[in-house]
Amino acid sequence: MGCSSSVPDRASGRSGGLNPENSAADSKNLRVKLVLLGDSGVGKSCIVLRFVRGQFDPTSKVTVGASFLSQTIALQDSTTVKFEIWDTAGQERYAALAPLYYRGAAVAVIVYDITSSDSFAKAQYWVKELQKHGSPDIILALVGNKADLQEKRKVTVQDGTEYAEKNGMFFIETSAKTADNINELFEEIAKRLPRPTSS
């Protein structure tokens, strides 16, 4: 975005040589930049907090700009994956700053709220945006959050699945409140990461 035009050039130019940005380190210990995108109030920050700290705070703060957290998980094949998670602000105008954070990300998790069709539309906007401007080999995950609010559901599981399939995404419904599928989401992402060929 704004800052992209001069700076990132350098960053990405250099990243190829010394420090591959997408995933790094050796074949046993992966490092992954992950960005969360989606409409305001769908629970992006809650998902991260649930995953990283195991907490859920129903009265969480508005995210201004973006916030960062990291978490390492161990997989069954004894590899570890360190997620460097950028949690972005949801309001539409902050989309102007989003490229700053999704640029160079290996994974984008696009979140919508199953009780809001607006947020599902917004998720589709993000998918398109990333297909256009994200890294070409970015892993996209579509997440329907607030799955505990079944009675208020507006977006069916089928809608989510179909859209995800059409766009070659991985789809899951989660609940940060009940911790449902939160770890599964990140484990699944970890499994899909390209492994650096051990040299």
């Binding site: 704004g2 960053a11 990405s12 990291s70 105008r93």
Partner: protein, 772 residues
């Protein structure tokens, strides 16, 4: 309010003195600093009182007071009207609307005096004049505001893409001074002090200084001499850097922002009425109302603004909602942007609702003009400016961040957009705001961010991947409890960062941002940030002069920031490419070759550089390891010290216990001994009794024997007596024998009484003995 929050602080240690939640990991450090804050607060209360007294006495000489009281009266009467109209329009909603603004007024006695009528009636206030003692500051500051407003009126407000202020100034020679005056006026002393260092800024400054007196004389200084104002400003600047006293903060902020000058009577109320009417008339999107989208967003964000803060109860939230809706109506080019909810919330904690509105208007419309608009242009420009300053100030650190793949804007973006709210501890946030609002521009934003880099840069250099760097910086910034250190580092350490310099840099960097935005809005071509060879080439093709320049640049080793020129081409590309015909192929081949050579060269140098950097890094890492280790060791030492302390305490307790035990044991022993003694005594006594018994028996036995003997002796005595008496009868006839026998007799007679006496005595003894 202040008292209430202090109470809460006592009740609930997880909140700080302002009622904001403390992160659990910070409670300990907060407690450490709470005392320092208290001391600082006392000191600054004293200093401010002195300053205000001094200013007030000087001002009383002038006929200002009169004017002020007039205004005041007008304001009060108008205020009453306002409340009446409010009640009729919003009903119950408004009556309870401002429990907190009542609190604010309660805490400041001067205000109570100003509005005796209102308080008696228990009418809730939405607008409140600041205390008269601050009028002087208000007047000092208002000149700035007046000029801004005038200028805003001059320039047509339409183009929020191109904030016209600076643009116009650079074109128009005379207005340069005019604009500079804004900040020279207020931070005149500041810029003046920097003039020694900032060569570039000196130019503009001289101009502004030369123009200033004449201009200002017309506006404010009719009553107070210019020199006096100037010295006050200098003193005030010092005081502001030292922080504002808690009780004054809300009002001084208003004075800084120029709330009184900005305020248009009934404007706020009209906005609210308009809003309520619109939403009552029609649920749909009426052009005059707040767009439904923004309303929804505000509604979503209200409960997520300082959640759990005691002052943001239902009434507080209603105030917040009204404030944000009114602002959205007031300035449709901004509407509502996340982050403003925090600003509005913060202001509502410090002042009544309408005052908060005008302060917010001042901050967003003026200080942060173009920041929170739909495109957030100025915010993006500032990110580039900050990065430029970082490269200039902390080249090593930036190199390290580049190496890690960390972009400065990743963390500076949220800092700037939130004006550090939620990013620093509250005391530090408020101190930064103090200076920022005083200076009337965003210089403090940059200085604070640079100060943070100065403070935490050395730690950041030790990190080994992007995640660690960001995590470390977030947590370090979040624990910047030493607010004085931060503010002083910011204000004194970066004097060359002035508004003039920032304006210059913004001018330079804005085009690139605008270009990108233009492109995005066109949504023409796929634009990749990691621009491929093709796109780069394309841009070269369109710029005949650039390859040579580029080469020079490549040869010039260090990669400086790309020229906006290039960016222009890059962005212009999208539009052009579709319309223009295909370029000449041969030409393209030539360019391709040139480009390939250049790239190869670049690659080689990059590889070399990479190797260099790697070795440098290895060295750094070892050094860093040492530093980390020493930090670790320090921490561990502290822990050890703590542990030792607890150990010592435990030992003391143990010793005490031991002593107690020993005492108990001793006592036990003593009692045991006493018992044994007693037993021995008993035994001894028994023995003695036994012995006595024996003796008694023996004595009795001997007595019995003696008695026997006595009886025998008696009988013998009697026998001898009888015999003697017989003898006397027989010897009384012969005389010769008589003489001798008489002598013998005499002896016998003398023997007799002895024997008798002895017998008597013995008898007496035997009678006495049993009684013994």
């Amino acid at each position: 309010m202040a008292e209430r929050s202090i109470m809460l602080h006592i009740l609930e240690p997880r909140r700080d003195a302002y009622g904001f939640a403390l992160r659990p990991q910070h409670t300990h450090r907060y407690r450490e600093y709470a005392n320092i804050y208290k001391e600082e607060e006392e000191e600054r209360c004293y200093k401010w009182k002195n300053f205000l007294d001094q200013v007030a006495t000087s001002f009383q000489v002038c006929p200002l007071e009169e004017a002020n009281t007039n205004i005041l009266q007008a304001e009060t009467s108008e205020h009453k009207e306002e409340i009446r109209s409010r009640r009729s329009s919003t009903g119950d909603d408004s009556t309870g609307s401002n429990s907190e603004s009542v609190d604010t007024t309660d805490s400041s006695p001067t205000k109570l005096l100003e509005y005796p009528i209102e308080i008696q009636k228990r009418v809730v206030e939405t607008w409140c004049q600041i205390r008269p003692s601050l009028n002087a500051i208000e007047i000092m500051m208002s000149s700035r505001v007046k000029k801004k407003i005038m200028k805003d009126e001059k320039t047509i407000n339409g183009g929020d893409h191109l904030p016209p202020l600076e643009e116009a100034e650079t074109l128009d020679g005379t207005s340069v001074a005019n604009s500079e005056e804004d900040e020279a006026c207020i931070s005149g002393s500041l810029t003046r002090s920097t003039s020694a260092t900032g060569a570039e800024s000196r130019m503009g400054e001289c101009m502004s200084n030369s123009v200033k007196p004449s201009k200002r004389d017309g506006v404010v200084a009719e009553r107070v001499s210019h020199d006096q104002l100037f010295t006050w400003q200098e003193e005030l600047e010092c005081l502001v850097r030292g922080g504002l006293p808690k009780d004054l903060r809300g009002e001084v902020w208003q004075a800084f922002v120029g709330v009184k000058t900005r305020r248009i009577e009934k404007y706020y109320q009209d906005l609210l009425d308009q809003e309520t009417n619109c939403s009552a008339d029609n649920e749909n999107n009426i052009p005059s109302g707040v767009p439904i989208k923004l309303k929804k967003q505000i509604e979503k964000d209200i409960p997520r603004t300082f959640p759990g803060h005691p002052a943001l109860d239902e009434n507080g939230r209603d105030s917040l909602r009204r404030l944000l809706l009114a602002y959205a109506l007031h300035n449709p080019s901004v509407g509502y942007c996340q982050a403003m909810n925090f600003f509005a919330g913060l202001l509502l904690l410090l002042m009544p609702e309408e005052n908060a509105f005008w302060t917010l208007v001042g901050i967003i419309d003026d200080y942060f003009d173009g920041y929170y608009t739909e495109e957030m242009i100025e915010s993006q420009v500032d990110q580039l400016v900050f990065e430029e300053l970082m490269r200039e100030r902390f080249p090593k650190l930036v190199k390290h961040l580049d190496y890690l793949g960390v972009q400065v804007a990743w963390f500076s973006g949220p800092w700037f957009l939130s004006i550090f709210v939620n990013m620093l501890p509250w005391e530090s946030v408020l101190r930064v705001w103090d200076v920022l609002l005083f200076e009337g521009n965003r210089v403090m934003l940059f200085r604070t961010a640079l100060a943070l880099m100065e403070l935490y840069g050395p730690a950041l250099v030790t990190t080994k991947d992007a995640g660690d760097a960001i995590t470390l910086l977030q947590s370090l910034a979040g624990s910047t409890f030493d607010s004085s250190q931060l503010v002083l580092t910011a204000c004194m350490g970066f004097l060359t960062v002035t508004e003039v310099r920032l304006v210059e840099l913004r001018e330079k960097l804005r085009p690139s941002v605008l270009a990108v935005i233009e492109e995005r809005t066109k949504k023409g071509r796929v634009w990749k940030d990691s621009k491929g060879l093709a796109s780069k080439l394309y841009s070269f093709k369109h710029d005949p002069g650039s390859p040579a320049e580029k080469k020079k640049k490549a040869a010039g080793a260090d990669a400086g920031p790309c020229t906006p020129n290039l960016d222009d081409f890059l962005s212009g590309l999208a539009g052009d490419s579709e319309t223009e015909s295909l370029p000449d192929l041969q030409e393209q081949v030539v360019w391709l070759k040139v480009e390939l050579c250049r790239l190869l060269e670049e690659k080689r140098s990059a590889v070399l550089r990479a190797e260099e950097l790697e070795t440098a890094l290895m060295e750094m890492v070892t050094q860093d390891n040492r530093r980390l280790l020493s930090a670790r060791v320090e921490q561990l030492e502290i822990e050890v010290a703590e542990l030792k302390k607890t150990l010592a305490e435990k030992k003391e307790q143990e010793v005490a216990m031991l002593q107690l035990l020993m005492r108990v044991e001793q006592e036990q022993r003593v009692t045991e001994e006493a018992r044994i003694n007693a037993e021995q005594d008993v035994a001894a006594q028994k023995y003695a009794v036994h012995m006595l018994q024996d003796k008694y028996e023996k004595a009795m036995a001997s007595l019995a024997e003696m008695e026997k003997r006595v009886v025998m002796a008696e009988s013998m005595l009697e026998a001898t007596l009888q015999y003697e008496s017989g003898q006397v009868k027989a010897t009384s006839s012969p005389r010769s024998r008589n003489q001798g026998s008489a002598q013998e007799n005499q002896r016998k007679i003398s023997l007799l009484p002895f024997a008798l006496g002895w017998r008597d005595r013995n008898k007496g003894k035997s009678t006495e003995e049993p009684s013994e």
